[in-house]
């Protein structure tokens, strides 16, 4: 009798704990809701989860197959991120969202070997744009080099087409992530005649006294920031302290969320940042989110991040993943797709303005199409500006295109070097 009970308990436990492989589409998320960077990780994870919940609740899943969403906590730590990947790689993950450049670099060879697609939206290895080398990695709709180029193109517009004689300081997080824009900005400085001053900030970036004293001495015309976490509000506060004109201070999209400006208060008024997607809740999608996710209490986290910049980014990443899954289902004629099929969907993804409007996100993100020679989308971004009085980000430009010709040259150099180092022959996957 005792043995029967024990066997039943073991069997029940196994049924509960075994991964549900059949009849679900597994979308994992390598999130970080704890640790020093949690403030940025939480809204992204909430947005990602809420959009997938919406698809389940409103549409019954994708192509009739329910979505299974899982999270693995990385604490923005590369080792933990790799451990997370190892724990889910056997559970048919359709797409990996590492949400960290460090983790991305570690997972590129692993996902190549395992045949699991990875989406690094606006972060990660920039040269993954070249799909002939990085068959399993996608970084649409924009990457760091696009971001750097968009900022320079914006400044060109602001200065009647010439940056000759101007001085631009790059304040960067002293990490692989922060150093990414340096080659682009250096090449662009040769082309446009501005002087580039690079100033590193050690992680996490709570102490930036020396850096801002240097900025005060050097008197650059513009400061461009590549920061994350506490580095952002500290830099904005320091800029306000030395009375640097905020309208001449521009951050990358990872330095342009509510978390970055709210702690600074009125001093952050006028600060600008790149936006790879729309911001605010003025999109029809939020009616559905309210009805199917928020009101029934199915929201992730505490529900108080809805509509923030990083929540919107998570939601956008989930939307792109769902649309790629739909393409994969169409290509292969099956609803229950595998990671390899998902890759095909991502490699053939086409996002049009009509589709965005149909999804309740008109003009939220740029129109773009993915191809083997371009896993990076259009690279376009807008500029947003913080209004400290209204406590909201306002988009102040339309989509600005990067200097893609130059960026593709750099992409080819870097990706082909990677292929040579790893003894690979670049080729498209069919």
């Amino acid at each position: 009798m005792k043995m029967t009970k024990l066997a039943a308990t073991v069997a029940a436990t196994m049924m509960v704990s075994a991964p549900v492989l059949a009849d679900t589409l597994h979308f994992p998320n390598l999130s970080y809701r704890t640790g020093p960077f949690a403030a940025g990780g939480i809204p992204f994870a909430d947005g990602y989860a809420d959009y997938l919940t919406l698809i389940n609740e409103r549409d019954g899943g994708i192509g009739g197959v329910p979505i299974r969403y899982t999270e693995c906590e990385t604490a923005y730590n590369t080792e933990r991120g790799v451990e997370c990947y190892q724990s889910i790689r056997g559970d048919s993950p359709l797409v990996i969202q590492p949400l960290s450049t460090g983790i991305t670099y570690q997972l590129i060879p692993r996902t190549m070997e395992d045949g699991i697609p990875m989406h690094t939206m606006g972060y990660g290895r920039t040269s993954a744009v070249n799909g002939e080398v990085f068959n399993w990695t996608f970084n649409y709709p924009a990457n760091y080099w696009d971001g750097a180029s968009v900022i320079i193109n914006y400044l060109l517009e602001e200065n009647e087409g010439s940056l000759e004689g101007k001085k631009i300081a790059l304040l960067y997080h002293n990490s692989a992530y922060g150093r990414e824009p340096i080659p682009t900005l250096t090449r662009l400085s040769e082309r446009h005649g501005y002087e580039l001053l690079t100033i590193g900030v050690d992680s996490p970036g709570q102490e930036q006294g020396s850096q801002w004293l240097q900025i005060r001495r050097e008197r650059p015309d513009y400061v461009v920031m590549w920061g994350w976490g506490v580095m952002n509000p500290t830099a904005i506060q320091e800029a306000a302290n030395i009375r640097f004109p905020m309208e001449n201070f521009i951050g990358v999209w990872w330095s342009g969320s509510q978390q970055d400006v709210l702690p600074v208060g009125a001093g952050a008024h006028g600060y600008k940042a790149l936006a790879m997607h729309g911001t605010g809740m003025d999109y029809p999608i939020y009616d559905d989110l309210q009805k199917y996710v928020i009101e029934p209490g199915l929201y992730a986290g505490t529900g108080d991040e809805v509509g923030t910049v990083l929540y919107s980014r998570g939601m956008y990443a989930a939307m792109l993943a769902v649309e790629a899954a739909k393409v994969a289902q169409d290509i292969h004629g099956v609803a229950n797709i595998t990671p390899a099929m998902m890759r095909d969907g991502m490699a053939n993804l086409v996002i049009t303005e009509e589709l965005m409007a149909e999804l309740g996100l008109p003009n939220f993100g740029p129109a773009f199409s993915v191809a083997c020679d371009n896993h990076g989308g259009s690279g376009e971004a807008m500029i947003q500006q913080w209004d400290a009085n209204a406590q909201e980000w306002n988009l102040i430009t339309d989509w600005i295109a990067p200097d893609r010709e130059m960026i593709m040259e750099m992409v080819m150099d870097d990706s082909l070097a990677f292929a040579a180092e790893n003894d690979m022959t670049p080729a498209c996957l069919n």
Binding site: R33, T34, G35, P36, F37, A38, A39, I42, N174, T198, I199, G200, V201, D202, S203, P204, Q206, E207, G209, S210, Q211, L213, Q214, R216, R217, G229, V230, P233, T234, Q237, A240, N241, I242, R243, Q259, L262, P263, V264, G265, G267, G297, T302, D304, E305
Partner: protein, 328 residues
């Protein structure tokens, strides 16, 4: 006067004020180490926890509201009122004293006579526990902290130095206030330890645990007292650092700035923490000023440790630490 000299003077001045900010964190470590021989790994997290609690009280946030909402399906977030800063600070002090009592009751009491490394490990556990509790209690989002301290460039220093040198020095008013508050804190601690019964008891325990016990001083009371004072110092550090860049979980990493200060100043000396902080602050600012063109900046983190290591070579006990002589 040459520009380079002026800029170096400005960097030195900023180094001094930055050093005070580091010393504020280091003070908490010194207090606990001096009284109990414990290197409190949780000191940075205590600063975070204190700052979170202060902002929570100020904004009328309901503690554990996320947990309550998840368990009971409610949507509680705020009480609907804001607590004035003058009330919120004593309320936070009360929470830090309660924390000290709980730490003594549930951790330290059970580890009497254990090796220092065991006590150190216990504080690592405490750090993780406290960080988790802080998250559940107050949430992980970034919070703005405003206790009315002025921020931004000091016009007085700017004008004064401009009149003297033809170049106005930048100095953050918040850091000037931090220097003043640190001075008051050190003076208060000195008066407390020299002129009160509890302070003398604390010094007796610091000198010799066994002897203090033999004359009837309660070790448990002293530990509660020490951790309470360290909690108050953590609150001051949390206010200063939180006012600079908001209260967020990376605030706990300010402890990393205190370690080289402690190595340099000694683990048992309050003046050592202050002097150590000033040396580190000035050293890293000047090093960055002169070496930035060569090494590209971002030197502050590693330079502080390198400077501390150099000091270790010549004075292993730190500038003001007690020299330990052991005979075999």
């Amino acid at each position: 006067m040459p520009d380079t000299l002026l800029f170096a003077m400005e960097a030195t001045l900023n180094g001094l004020t930055a050093g005070v900010m580091y010393a504020l964190v280091a003070l908490g470590f010194v207090l606990i180490f001096k009284a109990s021989g414990i290197f409190n790994f949780a000191q940075g997290v205590m600063a975070l926890f204190a700052a979170l609690t202060l902002v929570g009280f100020q904004s009328g946030q309901i503690p554990f509201s996320h947990l309550i909402n998840a368990m009971f399906g409610t949507r509680l977030h705020h009480f609907g009122w804001n607590m004035p800063t003058l009330l919120a600070i004593p309320a936070t002090v009360a929470v830090m004293i309660l924390l000290a009592i709980l730490v003594e009751r549930f951790i330290l009491k059970h580890l009497i006579n254990q090796e220092p490394i065991i006590l150190f490990m216990a504080t690592i556990g405490l750090a993780y526990f406290l960080e988790g509790v802080g998250d559940i209690m107050w949430g992980a989002e970034v919070k703005a902290l405003d206790v009315g301290l002025p921020k931004g460039m000091s016009d007085t220093v700017d004008e004064l130095t401009f009149n003297w040198f033809g170049y106005g020095f930048f100095i953050d008013r918040l850091e000037l206030w931090a220097a003043g508050i640190a001075a008051i804190l050190v003076a208060s601690l000195t008066i407390f330890s020299q002129y009160t019964k509890q302070g003398r008891a604390l010094r007796a325990v610091a000198d010799d645990h066994q002897a203090a016990l033999s004359v009837g001083i309660s070790l448990r009371f002293i530990w509660v007292l020490t951790w309470s004072i360290a909690g108050i110092v953590a609150l001051v550090a949390g206010i200063m650092w939180g006012s600079k860049s908001g209260v967020q979980f990376s605030l706990s990493l300010i402890a990393l700035k205190a370690l080289p200060v402690l190595i340099l100043g000694g683990f048992t000396s309050i003046p050592g923490a202050i002097v150590g902080g000033l040396i580190i602050g000035v050293g890293e600012k000047l090093f960055d000023f002169f070496m930035q063109p060569i090494v590209g900046g971002a030197t502050e983190n590693w330079f502080a440790y390198m400077l501390a290591l150099v000091f270790l070579l010549f004075r292993p006990q730190g500038l003001f630490g007690e020299k330990i002589i052991e005979r075999v």
